[in-house]
Amino acid sequence: MNTFAQAYQWVNLRYLLEGLWITVEVSVISIIFSFLIGAVFGLLRYMKIKYLSLIVGFIVDIIRNLPLLLIIFFTYFGLPNILGVRFNTLWATIIAMTVFESAMLAEIIRSGILAVDRGQMEAARSNGLTYWQAMYHVILPQAIKKMIPPIVSQFISLVKDTSLATIIVLPELMYHAQVIYGQNTNFMIPMFLALAVLYFIVCYALSLLSRFLDRKLSEA
């Protein structure tokens, strides 16, 4: 019991929370960017524009089928070599996460739109709406409701996947825990417990948000 009290002394907890802050920072920035890029890519692929949709689809398919860790290595180790720019671990991770999650979200968004019955578009168009009007007023509102659960679970795995960046020594939650129990191996189990609780809080908050949005949209 004494080890637990020692492990959870304030300096250690504060250090863990500093790590949590980096995890949240990386997650939030990646979520915002990847949602925007994913939406654009998903729509582009859905719309079947000559060449463009094909290229987008090709890129999305490639990225979706690569391990995230490989993309992180590429942005951290590879880009300085190719482009001559140095990223710190924070931005290397954010860029890698954004690239990977954009591709995942593009597919979720595209399949959400595809899941809306074709008849809806035809009916809207035959009532005199333009393509974009039909998309905005008829298709997307229905599609978004279908997309929210898979999008949120994608965001949840994004938060958890930030821990992969410990390999490039990003000072996020997982790494800070490793530093603490690296200095006293007795703290290993207490730190694992703390990690479980902290990741759970962040991810559960996200799933509550999903439920809230779901209810909000059903009312509308």
Partner: protein, 274 residues
């Protein structure tokens, strides 16, 4: 439909072409610029350091700063080369990430408990030795074992699996029995509980254990020679020269000794065999 199939072939070809062009542009990567001149202009120097090694580079949880012998040497060198107002960036590296980070130019130099080996010298340039590392033994205070030569038949030495330290100690003391354990923490616990008469690995790690628990001391100095050097990229001769020149000056004017004393002065057995 036929057009589409052709496109599918075209796109990957374009992609490969694009990447090749990008790679071509990158011939002049950050790693191949003159580091000394660039850092002088930017007033920033980036060091790759360890953040998990006691006494050499260890993250202090209270202050969120990395501290240790390597760090102090790096700071002193930076001030001497670039002036007092230089911004010193410390990037934590691991044994697996340090070489790629240096080669890609993420860091300007590595001061990360890195042994100078011929294999590594093919890839990077090393400075003069800044720490005489080597394998040593740790024993309980007052133990009859005073050096590796005292590890005779009937003694048992504890080593860590997967490192060459076990082979080294078998060569230096062929009659002793070796107990191999999974990691340093387990090895030290085993020594404390009397499962062996001595523990062997790099002296730097042993000093860290000794500073943790002063009832255990490093004896007999090193019996292998694995000196630590500062690594820089090939083709960075001006930077390497500046490092060596200032390292020498630090040794001469006593600054090196002061830093050494700060980290290792209190550790018993540190001056033995030096």
């Amino acid at each position: 439909m036929r057009l589409k199939k052709k496109n599918w072939l075209l796109i990957p070809m374009l992609l490969v072409l694009g990447l090749t062009v990008l790679a071509g542009c990158g011939q002049k990567s950050v790693a191949s610029e003159d580091v000394l001149a660039r850092d002088k202009a930017n007033k920033t120097v980036v060091w790759g350091v360890k953040s998990d090694t006691r006494l050499f580079g260890l993250m202090d949880i209270k202050t969120n700063q990395i501290q240790g012998f390597d760090i102090d040497i790096a700071k002193e060198l930076s001030h001497r080369i670039y002036g007092k107002d230089v911004k010193i960036d410390l990037v934590p590296v691991t044994s697996n990430t340090r070489l790629p980070l240096l080669k890609n130019g993420n860091v300007d130099a590595l001061i990360a408990t890195m042994t100078i080996t011929p294999e590594r010298q093919k890839q990077v340039d090393f400075s003069d030795v800044y720490f005489d590392a080597g394998q040593a033994i740790l024993v309980k205070k007052g133990s009859p074992i005073k050096s590796v030569k005292d590890l005779k038949a009937g003694t048992k030495v504890i080593g860590v699996q997967g490192s060459n330290s076990v082979d080294n100690v078998k060569k230096a003391a062929p009659d002793t029995r070796v107990l191999q354990l999974a990691d340093y923490a387990q090895a030290f616990t085993a020594l404390k509980s009397g499962q062996g008469d001595a523990l062997t690995t790099d002296n730097g790690i042993l000093y860290g254990m000794s500073s943790d628990d002063p009832n255990y001391v490093v004896v007999g100095g090193t019996f292998t020679n694995e000196p630590y050097g500062i690594a820089v990229n090939k083709g960075q001769k001006p930077f390497l020269k500046a490092i060596n020149k200032n390292l020498k000056a630090m040794r001469q004017d006593g600054t090196y000794h002061k830093i050494e004393q700060k980290w290792f002065g209190k550790i018993q057995g540190f001056h033995q065999g030096r």
